[in-house]
Symmetry: C2
Subunit: 197 residues, 2 copies
DNA sequence: GAATTTCTTGACACCGTGTCAAGTTGACAT
DNA sequence: ATGTCAACTTGACACGGTGTCAAGAAATTC
């Protein structure tokens, strides 16, 4: 694990992220990544045992760079439940485009690879915890719709905030990121909070 | 295209649907389907040129059997815009589980196969037309939120009603179909209609 | 009963992933 | 400067799944 080794490792990961960000996952083959990183395909296997672990490592690498937890933490600072919900929605919604490339690859692999699925599920369960925290803040303030249990509300918010929905609205429907954030905030609020306030 | 030929063709399609309904798409290989249909793998290629066209044919076959258009048409009979929205949401939401098996396979193939993607997009654009019709009915009655254009509203409803959201809530979160229908109806209504009514 | 369609068996090519072996390059230590 | 070790290279191969081709058997149809 010398300096040189870590250097190429980082280059591989960065190249992987770059390729995934611009180009569909199945067009990002192991050989494509190796070529773009300036090494042989076999050399890549000296650093990562298989495609799934490469993608997982790339995800972690990205996480370290952008520190998603810190961004989400800021939503915890909000005073009221309503503000907290909004802060969380905006924080997560802003991070989706950052992780979309690798996320899409992980989702595609989830069909066939248990390891990839586990890695993606892990990320998604972290988001779910954020949803649950926002829901709890609403409950504390008495702002949750009375006909929703906390679990139901969390499921609903988590689904509304899915990467797939971001993909549908911004990629398929062509919405701008701002339009997405605005509508999805309103939708989340309308879905979870009492109609009378 | 004799009697025998059509017979096996139908058997292949039905077997395909059966296998897709119970088991993930990548576990439904061409050879699996052939075996389950009681013919050789090569015989299957005498009826369908490739996997994508087989799936597309299976989708059409299913459409003919369940007649999804007829089911959606009933929502057109509703008098008020609000009722029409609700009828459409329930009609489509009820059909999602029927098409989920083949839909999932088509979605998975969409990553790699243009033909599969076209077939799925075609289905989804049919749903989108239904969404647009419901939105227009709301507009006619003056019940659409004033801050939504018809396109935005259609995009939003179409996204809310996506197969992915059904999958997230019923398959991942474990909601019953009834719970899904109830919540998604409420969500759709809340997202599109004026808050004051 | 003969012609034709349907299906079978078996072989092979292609693609992408993953593995293995043998050899090259370069950095560093002594 | 020489030997050692890690990083990397080239080239070969296995595997699984899709799709193709050819030759022959079996069933249908007329």
């Amino acid at each position: 694990m010398s300096r040189k080794s870590e250097e190429t490792r980082a280059r591989i990961l960065q190249t992987t992220l770059d390729l995934l960000q611009s180009g569909s996952p199945h067009l990002t083959r192991i050989s494509d990544i190796a070529k773009a990183a300036g090494i042989s395909r076999q050399a890549l296997y000296l650093h990562f045992p298989n495609r799934a672990e490469l993608l997982v490592a790339a995800t972690k690498y990205l996480d370290e760079k952008v520190n998603i937890d810190a961004s989400l933490a800021e939503s915890r600072a909000a005073s009221s439940g309503m503000m907290r919900l909004d802060a969380f929605v905006r924080a997560w919604g802003t991070h989706i485009p950052v992780i979309y490339g690798v996320g899409r690859a992980l989702m595609a692999m989830s069909d066939t690879d248990a390891e990839a699925r586990a890695a993606w599920d892990d990320r998604m369960s972290a988001v779910r915890h954020g949803c649950a925290a926002a829901v709890n803040a609403l409950i504390r303030d008495g702002d949750l719709r009375p006909d929703l249990t906390d679990d139901t509300a969390t499921d609903l918010l988590w689904t509304i905030l899915s990467v797939r929905n971001w993909e549908a609205l911004t990629q398929t429907c062509g919405w701008t990121q701002d339009a997405y954030l605005a509508e999805i905030s309103r939708l989340s609020r309308g879905a979870l909070t009492r109609p009378d306030r």
